[in-house]
């Protein structure tokens, strides 16, 4: 492949790629993102490879079909996901056994296979096309929409969907100041969490004195359950590279780094291939597109510390030092990597840049709320029917995300809270479901946008336990440098633990609030600054649950093991032996025709008996905050069965 030396050559090359493509030739796109791979997508791909070969021979026809391994389109709940072009037929939960039929029926005979389609659980309606599935219909997928259309390992695929046209435009028709003005006008705010205006950050870095400057992609996505950045880097790495290169040109940097988690091997692989390809094509390296602008990108793998998502800690880690935050100012824009002006943005922020350059600032400002423009990718997880990756316009309500896109709460359970913003985010209760999701609104209710984690919780969730879970995570991940974060989190976790164990004391809630205040206000970096959010937001909205734990020694959601017990109602027990057999610690005595009784001394409160007791008997009861009734005497344990 010869280098592309000018924007004109790029357009010609793009035309050639498109001309070579037969629009009627079927293409089977199989998601091979991490989620679908875990669900067996690799086997599906292999089955397709073999099937295409075999079917061609059997039918003595040359089956002309493209097989494309793509990035994540988001519907991880129903993976492996495949889409068949040009009809855009979407099949879900495809197994290798379905492949033969898909080739003969859909690819060759152009018929739709009903059983692989999405069925709406409420209406029973089937959706043939991706865009008709409610999960997708209510999204606005500007950034991840291309994931299913392109093979992330193929730069030609990216070029075919218009890739690198923004870079060509920026380098040939704009000067750095114009690009910065454009990004400022677009009102794009950093997607990593803090929401700082990207254009202003770029301007600071550009205007900082010094000739050597750096640009960095923060792909150290550490929030539990979050995979926005992973999906972008795995599924469309060139869009991030393109954004970064435009940013480097605007800021005046000639070197860029992608700081990506070690735990994302596929993202590392795909982005590394993308860099190589872009270099071969002359879209990276020396004299990009004949513009005279030089820019190189290196991939740096993080070593698994959550705090390295904080920009100053990330930079120290890039320098090869321990990833500990440094006081700001000086900000990285002035003194960053190796003390040079450095601009760090999150993966998603960079991926927005080509869109803005291609479509203008008004394109982005036309979407979203007053203070937050464009779309935001969330990883929607937890107690929601359609878990996966969703991209929605800023300003959409939580209710729409959870119920329209997410399909609501499974198992007929009640919604309790949604936790946004990762481990240091906040829990939002039902009364705020109709609030608009943007940076400022989330902050008002005590949560944060964060990088886009969204965990839905149902009525079976204990809010004290939730706070404890996140504080436990943060305890492990605090770097330990400053006192309020290290000690504050430690003390808060101790208090939460004792509350969940029924050892809470009067005044514990106030102590938690005091500790939270100090940790939030006096910590060195944003990890400590936001660490109390899970505690404060759960106290704010679910104070009565804390009080039930402390005063009533009761866990209303039946989660905290030390506060619950299980009891078999002798009037309902039919001595069916199921719980007795399933009890992992042999704590249930009884037998055939002998009413089962739980030995409270042996019981570990695992809840197995409660889960396995057939609903028609519903003999096992959960108790909390009340004593377990005494066991019925031995002589009364015989089940008297009515004769038929």
């Amino acid at each position: 492949m010869p280098r592309i030396n000018s924007p004109l050559e790029l357009e010609k090359f793009r035309k050639d790629i498109l001309a070579k493509k037969d629009p009627d030739k079927p293409c089977i796109a199989v998601c091979t993102g991490t989620g679908c791979l875990a669900l067996g997508a690799a086997k599906v791909v292999n089955a397709f490879k073999e099937g295409i070969k075999k079917q061609g021979l059997e039918n003595r026809v040359n089956v002309k079909v493209d097989l494309r391994e793509t990035g994540c389109p988001g519907f991880c709940e129903r993976g492996p996901v495949i889409v068949i072009y040009p009809e855009e037929i979407c099949y879900l939960q495809v197994q290798p056994g379905d492949v033969k039929e898909i080739i003969s029926q859909t690819v060759i005979a152009k018929k739709v296979i009903d059983r692989l389609l999405f069925v709406d659980p409420t209406t029973g309606l089937k959706s043939v096309h991706e865009s008709e599935i409610p999960f997708y219909k209510h999204q606005m997928r500007l950034l991840i929409g291309n994931n299913i259309r392109i093979d992330p390992k193929s730069i030609d695929n990216y070029l075919a969907v218009g890739g690198y046209s923004a870079l060509a435009k920026a380098l040939s028709q704009m000067n750095p100041e114009q690009i910065i003005e454009l990004v400022k006008d677009s009102k794009l705010r950093g997607r990593g969490g803090a929401g700082f205006p990207a254009g202003r950050k770029w301007e600071f870095t550009r205007n900082s004195p010094g000739t050597t400057k750096y640009v960095v992609v923060n792909a150290d996505e550490g929030d539990p359950g979050a995979f926005m950045d992973r999906a972008l880097l795995e599924g469309n790495p060139h869009s991030v590279l393109e954004g970064l290169t435009i940013g480097a040109f605007a800021i005046g940097a000639h070197e860029g780094y992608i700081y990506v988690r070690q735990e994302y091997p596929l993202a590392v692989e795909n982005v590394t291939i993308a860099i190589q390809k872009a270099e071969e094509y002359g879209l990276l390296g020396k004299n990009i597109l004949g513009s005279g602008f030089d820019f190189n990108i290196k991939v740096h793998r993080g070593a698994g510390a959550f705090v390295c998502g904080e920009e100053t800690a990330l930079l120290r880690s890039l320098e090869g030092k321990a990833g500990e935050p440094k006081a700001r100012p000086p900000y990285p824009a002035v003194k960053g990597l190796w003390d040079k002006p450095t601009n760090i943005n999150n993966v998603e922020t960079w991926a927005n840049i080509p869109l803005i350059v291609n479509n203008g600032a008004a394109f982005l400002t036309s979407i979203g709320t007053e203070g937050s423009k464009g779309t935001k990718i969330f990883s929607l997880v937890g107690k929601v029917k359609n878990t996966g990756l969703v991209e929605v316009p800023m300003g959409i309500t939580l209710r729409n995300i959870i119920y329209q896109v997410g399909g609501g709460i499974p198992g007929g359970k009640k919604f309790k809270a949604v936790q946004t913003g990762g481990p240091s985010g906040g829990c939002i209760p039902e009364e705020y479901l109709d609030m608009q999701v943007d940076f400022d609104e989330l902050a008002k209710v005590g949560a944060i946008m964060g990088s886009g984690g969204m965990i839905v919780m149902d009525e079976d969730t204990c809010m004290v336990d939730v706070a404890k879970y996140f504080l436990n995570f943060l305890t492990d991940e605090s770097c330990g440098k400053c006192t309020p974060c290290r000690e504050g989190i430690r003390q808060m976790l101790k208090i939460l633990t004792r509350i969940s164990e029924g050892k809470g004391k009067e005044g514990d809630i106030e102590l938690l609030q005091n500790l939270s205040e100090t940790t939030r206000d006096a910590s060195l970096c944003a990890l400590g600054g936001s660490a109390p959010n899970p505690v404060l937001s759960t106290i704010r909205y679910f104070r009565e649950e804390y009080e039930a734990h402390i005063k009533g020694k009761k866990c209303p959601a039946f989660v905290c093991k030390e506060l619950i017990s299980f009891y078999i109602d002798p009037d309902k027990c039919t001595a069916c032996m199921i719980c007795l057999r399933k009890c992992p610690v042999d704590a249930i005595t009884g037998g055939k025709n002998r009413i089962h009784v739980i030995d409270q001394e042996k019981c570990t409160n695992c809840g197995t008996c409660f889960e396995v007791c057939p609903p028609r008997f519903a003999a096992v009861r959960r108790l909390s905050g009340e004593p377990v009734p005494p066991s019925i005497p031995e002589e009364a344990r015989t089940v008297v069965r009515e004769s038929k």
Binding site: A322, E477, T483, E487, G488, Q491, N514, E517, T518, S523
Partner: protein, 205 residues
């Protein structure tokens, strides 16, 4: 270097650009308590005892004065209800580890910190990093460093380096605001040079 005018505790203070709030306060005779600060070492900002309240553009926030550079027209309060409350909490958290440190006790008295507010977990070390930074920045030996993170973070002498460098230096010992350092050194010495029970203790000290 241009001069910067700011206000500390209601007093007009003239500072040089690049100075920290702590330095500016000191030059004006205003004292701010510190634990991890040392004039010979780079500002570190870890203990947060030097937290002050700062007003900029109508916004009030807490900052560590030892690391925050002075800015024109900054309004600084080194004591306020909020500052005192914050320092009190930080000292109480520290006292859980080093209840008998004289330096910490003195500050605790000043800010009304309750020595027994939190359950004791005496590690003695309050992770101020004075020893680590002194060894790295002044002695350039790196014989002592931090290991682990979060609440598991601790200081540790590196035996290979410590055995060569520390025996006739020990300049970090007097810097330690608690007695942790000596203990850590003795411990590492015991681990690095296990002495057979029968032999007399070595004369290294």
């Amino acid at each position: 270097m241009s001069n910067i005018l700011l206000q500390i505790d209601g007093k007009e203070v003239k500072a040089r650009e690049g100075m920290t709030i702590l330095e500016a306060a000191k030059s004006a005779g205003i004292s701010i308590p510190t634990l991890c600060h040392h004039e010979k070492l780079q500002p570190y900002g870890a203990c947060r005892v030097c937290t002050v309240e700062v007003e900029t553009g109508g916004r009030t926030r807490l900052l560590a004065s030892c690391v925050y550079p002075v800015e024109e027209n900054l309004v600084v309060r080194t004591r306020s209800e909020k500052v005192d409350r914050t320092r009190k909490m930080i000292l109480e958290e520290i006292l859980a580890h080093a209840p008998d440190s004289v330096d910490v006790q003195k500050l605790a008295e000043q800010f009304g910190a309750d020595r027994d507010r939190f359950e004791k977990e005496p590690s003695f070390c309050i992770l101020c990093g004075l020893c680590v930074r002194y060894c790295a920045e002044i002695k350039k030996k790196d014989a002592i460093g931090f290991v682990e993170r979060g609440p598991r973070r601790e200081i540790s002498f590196i035996p290979e380096v410590a055995s060569k460098e520390c025996w006739d230096c020990k300049e970090c010992f007097p810097l330690c605001p608690t007695s942790a350092l000596q203990a850590a050194y003795v411990l590492i010495e015991a681990l690095a040079f296990p002495k057979p029970a029968s032999k007399k203790p070595s004369k290294r000290n």
